[in-house]
Every structure is written in C-alpha cells, then in structure tokens.
Symmetry: C2
C-alpha cells in the first residue's frame, strides 16, 4: 500500500475535511496516511472520532500557510509549514505522494523546489480534471503554473497529460487537442500554431485544435494550453456556474408553481451539482515533479480529500512519472530527427 502525506491545514474548514477524508481513505484501505499539522490538535480530533487506531499517523508541523502568503515567501519563511513538511516526507521517501488544499501558489512553489523536476521536464504543470457531458473526465493542462509558456513547454504538457489520463482513467489512447480559437490547423496564435507542428510529430492520438466549448462536451480527453489561458478558461467556467446557480435560484423562487417545482426537483439539483463538482476527481495534479503532488480546492469536502488520496496512490502505483520520463525521452529522440 502507498503512503500519502496529507496537509491537514489547507481547506477553508481545516482540519475537519482533511481528518474525515483521511479516515475515509484509511477505512477503505486506499492508502496509509501521514496527517501533517499541529500534533496535539490533530491527536485530539482523531481521538474524538475514535479513529486513533486507523492507518493514520500524525506528523507534526508547527506553522500553516495562509491565503495571504505569497508562494515563494511562504516557502522561505515558514520552514515548518504543513505544506513544507508534507513535501519533505515525499522527498525523504517516507511518503510516495502529498496532497494539499492550501494556497495553490505556495503548494506549487514548495513542491517544485523540494521535489524537483522529472528528467526531461522543463516546467511542471498544473492539470485541472473536470467532468464532461458524457460523464467522463477531461484534463486541461496547464491551468496556472506557467503563465508565459513556449511551444516546447506545451509539448511536454501534452505528453504529461496524456500519460496521466491513460493511467488514472484507464483509457488506452486518450485524444489530445490544443485549445485554440478554431479547429482548422491555420487557426491559433503564434504559440499554438508552433505547438501544433510539434504535436503532429509525436506518437500521440493528436486530434488537432479544439475550441473552448469542447472542454465540456467529451470531444477531447487532454487539452493543452499555456497557464494563462488555462487559468482564464477554468475561472470563466466557475463564473458561469456561479451565475447560473444564482439566476436559477432567483427564477425558481419567482412564482408559486416555480417554487413548488424547486422543492420537488431539489434532489435532482443536488445530483447535478455533484456531477459538476470537479473535486470528485480528486483535485489537480502537479505534473512533472518527482513524487506525487495533488492540489485540492480550498472548499474541498472530506469526500474530495478522500478522492485526492486515492488518486495520489493510483498515480504512484501506476508509475505515472516513470512513464512520463520514458515518453519524453522518446519525444526528444523523435523530434531530433526533424
């Protein structure tokens, strides 16, 4: 069984979701958990839940990074933060992976610096995983680790995202596309047009350019983009969901029949919201670092934390990193023939 270090101080409601998620994961025997945070408090909370004897071990960390901390500064100054201690456990081989729902910038910086990049990776990338209309998942990479990216980086994102999708979702030949402003090969900006030429040469199931609406319709499995555009795409999506939720609630409470309709369909709404909830997929993997680092949403539930622990364990068991290094070595060999 894999061992996963869980930053207990990351979510908005920390450490409750982390502790409950860790207990669920341990009970389901998904992984052994090292719960990282203030020892006394975590011990007490675990004892309250009668869960002291589960496969959960507490590792003390005296500090916590807040949302106000800047990534690089938090790394330098808070040397005993729960994020940094979790990364250290992976670095020392005491855990195979880490998960954190804390400050994304701080987690990325810490993981990049403490774990280091894989062989052949210039820039680790953050991959968002979300549901599509067909009930399958799509992976968008990068969503914010690399704001100004080059074609070489996008090529590496494609290879990393493809391996991740293959291992975690068990799809043999995931479809890889470039996020662009139109499907034709001549569409796109300088970055995507150059990336297009490179991806055509790789042994991927490359389907060319895809558009913004293809993120959610199941046409493509792995969507490659620079961190700026990916971040905008992700946050626009969140904005639309928020806006629709608000409008819907308003509209549904405007007349009596509508109100009755709302009550009767509440259960359906709940199911629907759940399907949109990308935490179902266990957070966003930081691809390209040694070990495993999964970054969860600050609003993660215990269920989301449990899923992140499961994904981290599968990531390690499935040897995602080994495969990425092998594929990238192959890609370099292939491209050098051009």
């Amino acid at each position: 069984m894999q061992t996963i270090a869980v930053d207990a101080m990351g979510t908005d409601a920390a450490p409750t979701p982390e502790i409950d998620g860790a207990i669920q994961a341990a009970k389901a025997r998904l992984a052994r958990v090292l719960l990282v945070g203030p020892e006394d408090r975590l011990k007490l909370e675990l004892a309250h839940r009668g869960a002291a004897r589960q496969a959960i071990e507490i590792v003390h960390a005296s500090e916590a990074v807040t949302m106000e901390d800047q990534g690089a500064r938090a790394f330098r100054r808070k040397r005993d933060s729960s994020i940094r201690v979790a990364a250290r456990l992976v670095n020392e081989g005491r855990a195979q992976g880490m998960i954190s729902a804390g400050n994304t910038g701080a987690v990325m910086t810490t993981a990049k610096l403490m774990l280091g990049p894989l062989e052949g990776v210039d820039r680790p990338a953050l991959a968002a995983v979300f549901p599509t209309a067909q009930g399958k998942a799509a992976v968008l990479v990068d969503v914010g680790a690399n704001i100004d990216s080059k074609p070489l980086h996008l090529e590496q994102f494609a290879v990393m995202g493809e391996v991740y999708y293959r291992v975690i979702f068990g799809v043999e030949r995931p479809r890889v596309g470039i996020l662009s402003n139109g499907e034709e090969e001549h569409k796109g900006n300088e970055l995507t047009r150059e990336t297009f030429k490179r991806l055509k040469q790789l042994p991927l199931n490359f389907i060319g350019n895809v558009e913004g609406r293809d993120l959610y319709n199941g046409r493509v499995d792995v969507i490659v983009t620079d961190g700026f555009t990916g971040n905008v795409a992700l946050k626009v999506s969140e904005g639309v969901v928020e806006a629709i939720s608000g409008l819907l609630k308003q509209a549904l409470s405007s007349t009596l029949p509508s109100k009755m309709g709302y009550v009767l369909s509440r259960k359906a709404f709940q199911n629907f919201k759940k399907r949109l909830d990308y935490s179902e997929y266990g957070g966003a993997p930081l691809l390209g670092v040694k070990g495993v680092c999964i970054i969860c949403h600050g609003g993660s539930s215990a269920h989301a934390i449990k899923n992140a622990i499961r994904v981290a364990a599968e990531f390690s068991e499935g040897r995602v990193n080994e495969k990425i290094e092998r594929e990238l070595a192959g890609a370099v060999a292939g491209l050098s023939k051009l």
Copy 2:
C-alpha cells in the same frame, strides 16, 4: 431617423428572422431598414406579411456567403454578396450602419476592408456583450478579431470598449479591467502586464486586473483581452451553458417528483435562459471601423435582429466613433508625455 442595412441572408434560418426583425424594428420606429438580399424572394416574403409599406426598402444582392467560405476569399470572389452590398451601402453613406448574422470572419474582413479603420485605430476589435448576475451587461473586447495582439492594441480596445459602454448603456464611468490570471498588478503574462502600465496612464475608470469569474458577476463593465483569450473565454462560457442545460435536463427527468418539478418550473427555466441569451443585447459590435457594423449570432431570432438594429441606430446617434477618435487622440497625447 438612422438608416440601417440588414444582411437578410446571415442567420441559419435566413431570411425569416431578418425579415421579421426588420419589420419589428420598423414598426417600433427604431430605424429605417435597407434589407439586403435576393430582391424577388424578399419582395414576396414582405408582401406575404403585408409589410410592404413599412419603412423597409429592399436592396438586391445576388450572392450569399456560407459558413464554409473563408473570410478573405469570400470578400474577393463574392462581389455581390449580401454582406458586401450591405457594407457598400454604409461606405456610400446610404446607411449609417450594417448588421449581419452571417459568417463572422467574412463580415469582419468585409467591414474592415470596405469601411476602413477610424483615425487612430490600428486594429478594429470585436466586442461581445453579455449579461451579468446583476442584470447589467458586460463587454468583452476583443473576442476574435486580433489573435496575436500587442499592448498598444489592447489599449485601443479599452478606449473603444469604454466609449461603447458609456453610450449604449448610459453609464458615465464604466469600470475597465484587464482579463488576467489574478488580481494583483504583478499577475498576468507579458502582454497584460505591459497593458496594465498603459491603462494606468489613461483617464479611464481602470480597476486593474480581473479574473475569469468576474466576467459574469458584475464587478467590471469593460473587460480587455487579446482576441485569442477572448475567443476562448466566450466559447468556454457557451460550453458550460450547454453542458449544464444537458445535465439539468437529464437530472430533472430522472425521478417522478423531479419530472413534476421540471414541468412546474419550466416557465422559470425559460426566463432564465432568456437572461443568459446575449442576443438580447443585439450582437457584437465591430469597434474601430467607420460607420457601424454589428455582428449577430447565426442562431439569432427576429427579436435579436430587432435589437441589433436598435443598437446600430443608437451607436450612430450616440456618435460612438467620433468619441473614440477623440479619446484615442487624447490618449496618444497623454502617453507621449511618459
């Protein structure tokens, strides 16, 4: 009263929405309409509707551009297309503005070449107008006219979008923001960071960087971005709406109480969809060309066409172009002091 040239052959259901929209606009005395397309057919259709005596004049055009035509080629080869004839009417001063729901690339190319840029505008830009949570509108510019843009271009987009918003929505000091991956000034890519410095110097109500989720929450009125990112943002939004509609329908038909709920709340859903429908705002203006050019969605209804005619007339009456030229001249004078 303003005269607006309406391409009758643009929508997916052409010429029905165009004719009905033109009749509605004429009846409401929003503008005089020059309906551009195959004369015999349009005459017959108007006669059928007993609308021959309304303030609608038919101008013959023997060709129509299809969705398969490439913009520049359609312009060169289909010299008597309804798009090109409509643009010619504006160029000759017979109409103050044109609207078309046809092939966006062809309309943009034709308008840019036949109408020409305003004084001080390097790149005309397409502005999408959509509703926010507060029931107000937001304008996103550019959404696809300029894929590889420079800071100077984004600066002009800001000025053009601000004037447009001010005139069309009657807001004295619209809030202008740059679409970025975070709010802090240091966030963004090379393009947005440089644009930030420029916009700070202008006499705009500049609120700094905004994020993808701010498009729909009413925090900002005019959002500036390059055509690539803007296009992705717009199409991602459409994708999310499509996905939610599909999921919702599925979820709501899954159990009997849910089904009853769906029936009872159908009216509310319809209201809600209408509020999301950006055609309510009369299409996307191509800012920075002489005259007026409003580009509508291919799926536009008669109601959307009517609104586009109204907006085109208000654009001309409100002297948007004169104000853009004046503001840009002022901006250049201001920046040269730097």
